[in-house]
Every structure is written in structure tokens, then in C-alpha cells.
């Protein structure tokens, strides 16, 4: 390899390497230019006063409010379903499982993590068909179903991040608890988990981000374009990502399209904030670690 090839390759690396940054910039600028102007309260609440909408006095039809509520509820429900099993699974894998169990379960979780989200959505959908056959009645695609499917989607992330956090604890800290007479469970709860709490919270936040942005699962399990304000767990609902997808193919007038851009900007910002939060938590961790 002579000097010229070296130079050429370096240049090529710079060109290729700055491409993703450039693309991200283009995406952000484009969203801001096209959607920035529509970013106001009317985008979310339409013409309904914000307080009335928040308190449920008045329905919002032409705003993002129902979709935002739907996504929020969905994420909370998903988290409620997945958090405990995820953390427990991670702890079990890191602390209790035998090497064989660890390998088999690790493989299974990796496969689940790798499953296309549409397949998980399809599984959720199939479940609703089965339930429909077993209990002929009203159990179709609904928020609960979506939340279950999403919980299944983020479960491996939670398990793996918890496991990785616990595995990264140095042996010296690991034996401090038992040396002081702590039982295994006490050691985990009082020493190990707190020492890596930032990592674990960071993992949870990133999992939330995934649940919030996923569209493929919810479009198969109950998200619809216009359901109005979400009412019960067994109803269909509106969600932000699905709304954006819907607008991109089905918009009828310029105003609707404008709202689509607004929605895309809102979702983008939301995910950006979630990422920032995760980053801050992590930074806090590393700063404390240095001292």
C-alpha cells in the first residue's frame, strides 16, 4: 500500500463517514422547514382550548392530541407489562442461571430481539384471532393487544441491558456484600443493582424509545387513523407513528399534509428527548464513576 492509496482511502473514509451526518442534517432541516410553521398548540389541540382537551371536557378531532395520548398510554401500558419480567429476566440470567441455561435463554432472547417487528405484530394479531375463535365476542385488535405485543418486542432489550449491566460489575464489588454476610438476594438488591442503576435506567429509557417509535406492531394490532380519544383498553386507538404513516399515503389536502409534517417533527423531537434523557443518565453514571 503506497502513500497515495493511503491518502485516497483516508479521503474515502471521510466522505463515507460524514454521509450519515449529512443525511441526518438534511432530515432535520427538511422537517423544520416543512413542519416548523405548523408547530403550535393548534397542531395538537386543533381549536379546542388546551385545558378543556386535557381535562376531557371536549373532544379533539383534527389535532394530534388523541394520537399523542394513545402513544403515551400505549408506552405506559407496555412498560407496565414488560418492566418487571424484563428486569427479573435480566437478573436471573446474570446471577442465577447455569451456564447452559444462560446460553439457551440468551440465544432465545437474541432471536426474539432479532425478530422483525411485523412478525411480532402478526403474532399479536393471530392471538386476537385465536381468542376470537375461542370466545366469540368482542375481542379484536385493541390497545391491550398492542401493549402485549410491544412488551414482547422490548422484553429482550430490557433483559439484555439489565444482564449486561450486572455482568459489568467487577468481582471486587461483587464479593463485598457476601463478605459482610449478605444473602444472595440482599446482595443483588442492596449492592449490585444500585451500583449499576444508571445503566439499567438507561436501558429502560432506550426500550421506551423503541416502543414509542414502532409502527409495524401497532398497525397490525389495533392502531387506526381516526378513533378519536382513546377510551378503554379494549378499544382501537390512535397513535403518533401510525398517524404519520397514514398521512404519508392517504393525505387528502395540504392542511392534512401539513399536520403530518407537524406530527413527524413532534415524534422526532420526542424520540430525541428520550435519547437525550438516556444520555444524561449515562453521563451522570460515568461522572460518578470517575470520582
Amino acid at each position: 500500500m503506497n502513500r497515495a492509496t493511503e491518502r485516497g482511502l483516508t479521503l474515502l473514509c471521510w466522505l463515507c463517514g460524514l454521509l450519515p451526518l449529512a443525511i441526518l442534517c438534511i432530515v432535520i432541516c427538511y422537517l423544520l422547514v416543512r413542519g416548523g410553521s405548523s408547530l403550535n398548540l393548534a397542531l395538537i389541540f386543533d381549536r379546542v382550548p388546551a385545558m378543556d382537551a386535557l381535562l376531557g371536557h371536549q373532544q379533539v378531532f383534527d389535532g394530534l392530541f388523541p394520537a399523542l395520548c394513545g402513544t403515551t398510554m400505549l408506552v405506559l401500558l407496555t412498560l407496565a407489562l414488560a418492566l418487571i419480567p424484563g428486569l427479573c429476566g435480566g437478573i436471573y440470567l446474570a446471577e442465577y442461571a447455569s451456564p447452559l441455561e444462560r446460553r439457551i435463554l440468551g440465544l432465545l432472547f437474541d432471536i426474539i430481539a432479532g425478530l422483525p417487528s411485523i412478525v411480532i405484530g402478526l403474532a399479536g394479531f393471530s392471538l386476537s384471532i385465536l381468542l376470537h375463535r375461542l370466545f366469540p365476542g368482542r375481542f379484536g385488535p385493541c390497545m391491550l393487544l398492542s401493549a402485549m405485543a410491544l412488551a414482547f418486542l422490548i422484553l429482550p432489550y430490557l433483559v439484555r441491558s439489565t444482564q449486561a449491566a450486572l455482568n459489568s460489575i467487577p468481582q471486587s464489588l461483587r464479593i463485598t456484600g457476601p463478605a459482610l454476610g449478605a444473602s444472595k438476594l440482599q446482595n443483588i438488591l442492596l449492592v449490585l443493582l444500585p451500583s449499576r442503576i444508571q445503566d439499567i435506567i438507561g436501558g429502560i429509557i432506550l426500550a421506551i424509545g423503541r416502543a414509542a417509535e414502532d409502527t409495524a406492531v401497532i398497525m397490525l394490532t389495533g392502531a387506526v387513523a381516526s378513533a378519536g380519544m382513546f377510551r378503554s383498553l379494549l378499544d382501537q386507538y390512535e397513535a403518533l407513528p401510525f398517524y404519520i404513516y397514514y398521512i404519508s399515503s392517504q393525505y387528502t389536502d395540504a392542511e392534512e399534509l401539513q399536520r403530518g409534517f407537524g406530527a413527524a417533527l413532534v415524534l422526532f423531537t420526542l424520540c430525541g428527548l428520550i435519547f437525550l434523557l438516556a444520555l444524561l443518565v449515562e453521563q451522570g453514571f460515568s461522572r460518578r464513576w470517575k470520582r
Binding site: 483516508t10 438534511i26 440465544l107 432472547f109 432479532g114 412478525v119 384471532i129 414482547f152 409534517f261 444520555l279
Partner: protein, 282 residues
């Protein structure tokens, strides 16, 4: 608990097999792999979708690979230090940008460009989708590449640095050959993400069921097929094909993950061998 979710996975696969069973029952399973999809003529070949998926995936990988390797090299070695951190944070942020946002921007920005300058027609094509997909899977690969480059033993780096290797020499002679297994794993992960993505191909590939003749034409992927057919009648044959799609996608994932596992073990065996020379601090 962990057992439970493992069982759940198996249950899901079984459920799909059960729901897709009518296909096998009617002796139509092998007809699945025919090239015509025409529900009116009772032809349910999903081969166009399989090919569509493969084409988009491979193209996306081709576009994404140089970009990812370039970025990983910049972020690990070539860029000035402050820029490296910025790059890494940005890449991690990009991994969290919603797919639907990429798709949305592409529909209104990239598609008209494609229509005007490159492929004419509607602008919705396999090429368009794979370009956006390349951006989508890049962060996954970059993060893995960077990890791989970072895990090259420090003592080797010291040896090569102290002999006066320039950054590009260090990269070509030491880092890339040493990090080779993790590079491969990164590519496989990228492949999985590209294959499994629904939204981009659904929004941008055009979704026509005809067997595409060139990448500039419209095509449909397995994932998009599932999303498109789901609205149809529950008991129709058309509907049962999506379970075949689901099954194919799942099996594909299983193959990928298992191959990663095998590679990983191969890689760590190499690492144990490497550990003979322990770290030294300058």
C-alpha cells in the same frame, strides 16, 4: 420467568404454523414459491415478495457498508478526538430516530428527486427503498464496527503505534484484520434489520406484486406483504399466506442469530488466544 418468554417464542412459531396450516393442507404449500400472485386466479405465489425482500436487503447493505465502515473508522481513529465523540453520539441518536420519520421525509423529499432525475416513473421503487434502508441500518452496523475496532488488544495498538504506523496503515494492517469477526457480525445484524424492516419498504418500494425486472421498478417485500394483506378477510387463502411470510422471516432471523453465535464463539476463541499479551499502559 425467562423460561416463560422462551416458551412464548415457541408458542408464536406454533401459532403461525397452525394458522398457516390450510396452505399445507390444500397442497398449496409449494405453490407458494411460484412467481405469480393473483388472488383472483387462486394463485398465491409469494416468490415475488421473497425476491423483493432479498433485493432490497442486499442493495441496502451494499449502500450501507462503505458508509458504515467509513464512519466507524472516522469515529475510532481518523477523526480528531472531539469529532469522534460527536460522531458516536450522533450515530447513537440516529439509531433512535423513528423509522416512520425517515420514511415520511423520504416520501416527500427523495421520491420526487428520484422521479425527476434518476428512475422516472412514480419514484417509488426498490432502489428508493434500499437507499433509505441503508441509512436506517447504518447506525446498527457502525456501533458494532466501532465496538469491534475498540476491542482490538491495546498491546497490539501500542506495538503498531510505536513503530510509526500512520492511521490508515494501522487500520489496514492491524485493526480491520483483527476486528474481522465483529465486522462480520455487524453486517449480519444489519442484514437482519434490513430484512425485518416493514415501514420503509411499505412506504417507498411501491408494493407491486409483479416480479420486478430491475431495481428501478416497484416491488413488494415479505414484511410489507404482511402489512398489506392483514386488512383482508380472515379466512381467505390470501390471508393464510402472510403466516408463511411470517414463518419465513422468523426462520431467517433464527438462521442469522445462530450464525452470529457461531461466529462469536469463533471470535472469542481468537480473543482468548490474543489475551496472552495483556494490556500495558503507556
Amino acid at each position: 420467568m425467562a423460561m416463560g418468554s422462551g416458551l412464548l417464542l415457541i408458542a408464536i412459531l406454533c401459532m403461525m404454523a397452525v394458522l398457516g396450516w390450510p396452505l399445507v393442507e390444500n397442497g398449496r404449500f409449494f405453490a407458494l414459491f411460484s412467481t405469480t400472485w393473483s388472488p383472483h386466479a387462486q394463485a398465491y405465489g409469494i416468490l415475488p415478495m421473497i425476491l423483493g425482500s432479498l433485493r432490497i436487503t442486499v442493495l441496502a447493505l451494499l449502500f450501507s457498508l462503505p458508509m458504515s465502515i467509513g464512519t466507524a473508522c472516522l469515529a475510532e481513529l481518523l477523526a480528531p478526538r472531539p469529532l469522534r465523540r460527536l460522531l458516536l453520539v450522533t450515530i447513537r441518536f440516529m439509531a433512535g430516530v423513528p423509522t416512520v420519520v425517515y420514511g415520511f421525509v423520504a416520501v416527500f423529499l427523495l421520491v420526487p428527486l428520484m422521479r425527476e432525475y434518476l428512475i422516472f416513473g412514480s419514484g417509488f421503487s426498490i432502489l428508493t427503498a434500499s437507499l433509505v434502508l441503508a441509512v436506517l441500518i447504518a447506525p446498527t452496523m457502525i456501533i458494532f464496527f466501532v465496538n469491534g475496532l475498540q476491542s482490538v488488544p491495546r498491546s497490539y495498538c501500542h506495538a503498531v503505534d510505536s513503530l510509526g504506523a500512520r492511521p490508515m496503515q494501522k487500520l489496514i494492517y492491524l485493526l480491520l484484520p483483527q476486528a474481522y469477526p465483529s465486522l462480520l457480525i455487524g453486517v449480519i445484524l444489519g442484514l437482519g434489520r434490513a430484512m425485518g424492516d416493514t415501514l420503509i419498504s411499505l412506504m417507498l418500494a411501491g408494493n407491486s406484486v409483479a416480479l420486478p425486472e430491475s431495481v428501478a421498478e416497484s416491488g413488494r417485500t415479505l414484511t410489507a406483504h404482511i402489512a398489506l394483506v392483514i386488512a383482508a378477510d380472515f379466512s381467505s387463502m390470501e390471508f393464510t399466506t402472510i403466516f408463511a411470510c411470517g414463518l419465513i422471516l422468523s426462520l431467517f432471523t433464527v438462521c442469522l442469530i445462530v450464525s452470529i453465535r457461531l461466529l462469536d464463539r469463533f471470535g472469542t476463541r481468537g480473543a482468548q488466544h490474543r489475551e496472552m499479551s495483556t494490556e500495558s499502559r503507556p
